[in-house]
Amino acid sequence: MGFIWGHLLATAVLISAAAADPNDERCLTHLSQSLQDPLKNLQNWTKDTFANPCQGFTSFLQGATCNNGRIYKLSLSNLSLKGSISPFLSNCTNLQSLDLSSNELAGPIPPDLQYLVNLAVLNLSANHLSDDIPPQLALCAYLNVIDLHDNQLSGLIPQQLGLLVRLSVFDVSNNKLSGPIPPSLGNRSGNLARFNASSYGGNKGLYGYPLPPMKSNGLSILAIVGIGLGSGLLSLVLSFTAVCMWLKVTDKKLENDQGKITHLMPDY
């Protein structure tokens, strides 16, 4: 009997682990804890407002937009925010647009963002975010915009992001990404939107199409040819000069010798 209960419990745990609880209050409480607001820019971000962030279709929370009693848009751009992005942001399950750009947020992009299944716009650009871009973002099937430019993200660009059929804006420029650009993003075919080199620039270790071919370590072909020709010419000139000088020396010696002989020759 206990065995059955054990199984049921395990199943329940597994099911709950597969999705985040829709709970805007939890989402906001944890986010306000993980964020730091030194300039007190987050108006009305108090415990009371979290409990009831949406009065039907309007929100008292600065930066939050509601519909049908749930937060669907969070715009906290350019507010000098520090701290990190809480993984519990995933409880805002109705979120369609998340914009935390132009702040000073650090730490990783939480893979828990995968539970924001309604996310269409993700803008975390111009922060200090680090670590890898989580491949789990590919589970947000409706993503149209992924803007992560100007951060300190490292590692590889996850090829799974190429699965996002609605992706029309993809910008990871100016980060610390490395490795090859996955063809699923760099070399897309069919109706899928394409991204040019500007989406990938400013990443030292990143290579592959559409970035221009990587320069070889050392000298370019032109430089090698130039140096070869130059040194060849120089050695020619040097050897010519050396021969000239040797000839001159031997000539003079001959002259000297001739002079000696002349001295020795009797006058007639």
Binding site: N68, Y72, V117, N118, A120, L139, Y142, S168
Partner: protein, 208 residues
């Protein structure tokens, strides 16, 4: 006797002509709104101030005009209204906000609503509206908020709506809509929440 009778008739006729003339040369937008009022049930007398004899409707409660005395907003949400919408709504050519949510209005959305070329917000959610979503709504090229949720709309979602590039918020949930969910144009940004609780064809499964 005959004289007084004649005089009476002539004065009545004159009076009637005067009243008729006043109405004919009256404000077209005021007339449109008055036609709406005549077609709505108003148990709480929310529309009591709607006096058609005034020169324009700009002083009516719940009506907001712009600088040129043209109706820009209609805010009659949460008003306990019943009855039906009227085609004359299409005459409010400068209307930007049509807020009639949370009432008991029935019938359909008149096709003439597609004439409101400056409309920014169309909020008819939580009512008893039925019939199709008119494809003429696709002509509302400044529309940002379209909320028709919690009604009894049926038929397909018109493809013309995907051409509205300004659309930021779409809520068609809790209706009786059928057919495919458009995913092109502006609808690329909309997720299942916008279409929930309708017998629509399901969106393709998300890739894993």
């Amino acid at each position: 006797m005959l004289f007084t009778n004649c005089f009476f008739h002539i004065s009545m006729l004159t009076f009637q002509l005067w009243v008729a003339f006043r109405q004919v040369s009256g404000n077209a937008e005021g007339d449109a709104l008055y036609a709406l009022k005549s077609n709505l049930g108003d148990p709480y007398n929310v529309l009591q101030s709607w006096d058609p004899t005034l020169v324009n409707p700009c002083t009516w409660y719940h009506v907001t005009c712009n600088f040129e005395n043209q109706v820009a907003r209609l805010d009659i949400g949460d008003a306990g209204l019943s009855g039906q919408l009227v085609p004359q709504l299409g005459e409010l050519r400068h209307l930007q906000y049509l807020e009639m949510y949370n009432n008991s209005i029935s019938g359909g959305i008149p096709r003439e609503v597609g004439k409101l070329k400056k409309l920014v917000s169309l909020d008819l959610y939580v009512n008893r509206l039925s019939g199709p979503i008119p494809d003429t709504l696709g002509r509302l090229h400044t529309l940002r908020f379209l909320r028709l949720n919690n009604n009894n709309f049926s038929g397909h979602i018109p493809m013309s709506l995907t051409t509205i590039n300004t659309l930021q918020l779409l809520d068609l949930s809790n209706n009786q809509l059928t057919g495919p969910i458009p995913v092109n144009g502006s609808f690329k940004y909309f997720t299942p929440i916008s279409f929930a609780n309708n017998p629509l064809d399901p969106l393709p499964a998300s890739p894993t």
